[in-house]
């Protein structure tokens, strides 16, 4: 814990502030991170107030709950309505599908349970052998190895997985291919990068000529990573740099990657607010078909309306808008009465801004 607090040292923060000011880009630049935990650190510690005026930092599609498509959510709803025990992470139960949320389905009698891990869902399956138990698996490369591990560990026959896992690097590529907004650089998420390795971003950095810096989660981690980004921009470089070497290596966690390869294949996935991104989703390999909830229940979601009227979550997820640009933010849409997914998920930009007053400048 003491090491952790040393990464909040105010004198060092002041030195970084001075360095960032020296590296101040002449024209406004937009730097995008894709991680709710980064946004929490930035908002909670008021880091935006330490940045040069020309630097804007936005959260892109960094909240796994927020980017889960209405179609996948509708599948989960149907499965729950057909009498299965549906297990998922807490925030997921409050995101609206086409007709309702999982929480509302529970109020109408469906058996929807909140779990903290895939292993918890397996345990529920073991205790309820007479009922199908479905784990609605959302999340990025960080949670997917957990899903893979339980499938490789001989789960009971009544355990199924509805896979909605997504991959971060293809999302970065998709944001860069979606004009008109220019993204000057990315901060890559520390947790995901611990699994996939810093090397996983090299192809994108080279192809799009964009600096990508892997960042940790303490205030000084973020300021350091931003300094590396600004230095690259100043020097006209577009490389992958690792500002979180105490956790992230070049090749990543090979064992976790092996788990992912054994259980999943890669295919296109639908992201809420963004649409379909090629090779950005995980699907169960044929060997695990017996645990495939979609096959077992024969459900296919509709391509439903991805956002409620007036909601600008899609632009927030694309890093084209900040939460306060949305007319619903803080008025009809609050964490207690969320309208869009970015206000529901605890890692969603709107939710974080509301809790920590993530206003850019003060």
């Amino acid at each position: 814990m003491s090491e952790l607090f040393s990464l909040r040292n105010p004198e060092w923060a002041e030195r970084f502030r001075g360095l960032l000011e020296k590296l101040r880009p002449p024209r406004p630049v937009r730097i995008v991170h894709v991680c709710g935990t980064h946004e929490i650190t930035i908002a909670q510690h008021g880091l935006r107030s330490l940045l040069p005026e020309t630097v804007e930092v936005l959260e892109g599609p960094g909240c796994p709950v927020c980017v889960t498509s209405t179609r996948d959510l509708d599948c989960a709803l149907r499965i729950a309505e057909r009498g299965a025990i549906l297990c998922t992470f807490g925030d997921m139960t409050r995101v609206p599908g086409t007709r309702m949320t999982l929480e509302e389905a529970r109020a109408e009698g469906a058996d929807v349970r909140v779990v903290l891990s895939a292993a918890d869902a397996v345990e529920i399956a073991r205790r309820n052998p007479q009922k199908p138990v479905v784990f609605f698996a959302v999340g990025f490369e960080t949670t997917a190895p957990g899903t893979a591990a339980v499938l490789l560990d001989n789960p009971p026959d009544n355990f199924f997985v509805l896979v909605s896992h997504k991959l971060i690097p293809p999302a970065l590529a998709a944001l860069l291919s979606a004009p008109p907004v220019e993204i000057a650089a990315f901060l890559a998420p520390g947790h995901v990068s611990t699994v996939i390795g810093a090397g996983a971003y090299r192809e994108i950095a080279a192809r799009f000529r964009v600096p990508i810096v892997v960042a940790g989660f303490e205030p000084l981690d973020i300021l350091y990573a931003l300094a590396l980004v600004l230095r690259q921009l100043r020097e006209g470089r577009a490389e992958v740099e690792n500002a979180y070497p105490r956790s992230v290596t070049e090749e990543g966690n090979l064992r976790a990657q092996e788990l992912l390869r054994r259980v999943f294949r890669v295919g296109p996935a639908l992201w809420r607010g963004i649409g379909e991104i090629p090779a950005s989703g995980l699907y169960l390999r044929e060997e695990f078909a017996a645990h495939d909830a979609q096959r077992e229940f024969g459900v296919e979601g509709e391509l439903g309306e991805e956002k409620p009227p007036g909601c600008r979550c899609a632009e927030v997820l694309l890093a084209r808008a900040v939460p306060t640009d949305c007319p619903l933010y803080g008025t009809t849409c609050t964490p207690l009465t969320p309208v869009g997914p970015c206000m529901v998920g605890a890692e969603g930009a709107c939710n974080i801004w509301y809790r920590y007053a993530g206003r850019p400048r003060l």
Binding site: M1, R8, Q44, H45, G46, P219, T334, R355, A357, L362
Partner: protein
């Protein structure tokens, strides 16, 4: 039948008959040392109490307590119920004089637990010299409530009433001790968190510690940061007073074990309830005197200036974060811990 009546609370205990009278006379009343603050008090079991009050403004407050668990590290619902009402009087600038105590008990509640709860409530009142002058007991059916609800109402007398709304630009903002302990103790107890250093509730009556500070005449506004913690207290004071506040995060006292556990849980210690702390706004010229008065009592020994009221950002609290960033300290949405006081 006899055994049952001695081990568990039954419907008969709240029915107004002989069984209830026995409960009151033998088990509840004797625990409280001071039972009157005027001609008619608890012993008369009359329809109300009659009080002789010293001169001054009469301050009147009430609070119902539904904490879960009923017993927690550092206290229990009995101590909490009495302390909460006493502290509400104190932060209005009033000396507490008399309290009422009403119990709503679930049928089947343990007699021994009830006795323990009443004893700890009685201890707080005895130490303060505050009288319990009237009360009520009701029993509800099994499952109709969760164990026990305790309501306390208090009367105090203030020479000078101190409202939440009295903060003026330039006033210094003080907190009388480390924040977040009660809320975290409850959270840890409820979820059986694996904590290395146990966190105890800070529940404690503030009168003995704050009385000398009140005498300085320098306190312009005061609030106890209970539900919603420091963040809610500061925001309310700023809003009601029409001033802005600048608070320095590095100066807010938080015990290291509290900060560490909050970090792990992803919650803010500034949003966790305190039950033995006060937030004060003090005229700058009197700040030294108020601090010296507070430092004399162990409960407020760690009192610190954490910021200052300003004219800009009326109604808002600006936090200068520990790394030197700036953000608004928002009014919490709700307590991170339901049912804590």
């Amino acid at each position: 039948m006899k055994r049952l009546l001695e081990e568990k609370i039954t419907a008969l205990h709240g029915a107004g008959g002989l069984v209830m009278e026995k409960l009151l006379l033998e088990h509840i009343l004797p625990k409280f040392k001071l039972r009157a603050a005027g001609p008619i008090g608890l012993d008369q079991l009359d329809d109300g109490a009659v009080l002789d009050l010293p001169p001054g403004k009469i301050v009147f407050t009430t609070d119902s307590h539904v904490v879960k668990p009923l017993f927690f590290p550092g206290g229990d619902i009995g101590k909490l119920a009495v302390t909460g009402t006493v502290n509400d009087l104190v932060v209005m600038g009033a000396r507490p004089v008399a309290l009422s105590l009403a119990l709503v008990i679930e049928e089947g509640f343990s007699f021994a637990d009830l006795e323990r709860i009443l004893e700890s409530a009685a201890l707080v009142l005895a130490e303060l010299g505050v009288a319990l002058v009237t009360g009520d007991t009701k029993v509800m059916g099994k499952g109709e409530l969760d164990g026990l609800v305790v309501n306390t109402t208090g009367i105090g007398v203030a020479e000078r009433v101190i409202p939440d709304s009295g903060v003026r630009p330039g006033d210094l903002l003080l907190v009388t001790g480390p924040v977040g302990e009660h809320g975290l103790a409850i959270l840890a107890a409820r979820h059986e968190l694996p904590v290395e250093t146990p966190v105890e509730s800070d529940v404690a009556p503030l009168w003995p510690a704050l009385a000398p500070a009140l005498e300085t005449g320098g306190i312009t506004a005061m609030k106890d940061p209970t539900r919603g913690g420091l963040a809610a207290a500061l925001n309310e004071m700023a809003k009601k007073s029409g001033v802005g506040m600048e608070v320095d995060e590095a100066k807010i006292p938080v015990r290291p074990e509290v900060r560490g556990l909050c970090e792990l849980l992803g919650i803010s210690p500034y949003e966790l309830a305190c039950e033995g702390r006060a937030v004060l706004a003090v005229a700058p010229a009197k700040a030294e005197e108020v601090l010296r008065a507070l430092e004399c009592h162990p409960l407020t020994r760690h009192a610190r200036v954490i910021g200052q009221a300003v004219e800009s950002y009326p109604g808002r609290v600006v936090l200068r974060t520990a790394v030197g960033g700036r953000r608004f300290l928002e009014m919490p949405l709700g307590d991170p811990v339901p049912r804590i006081c």
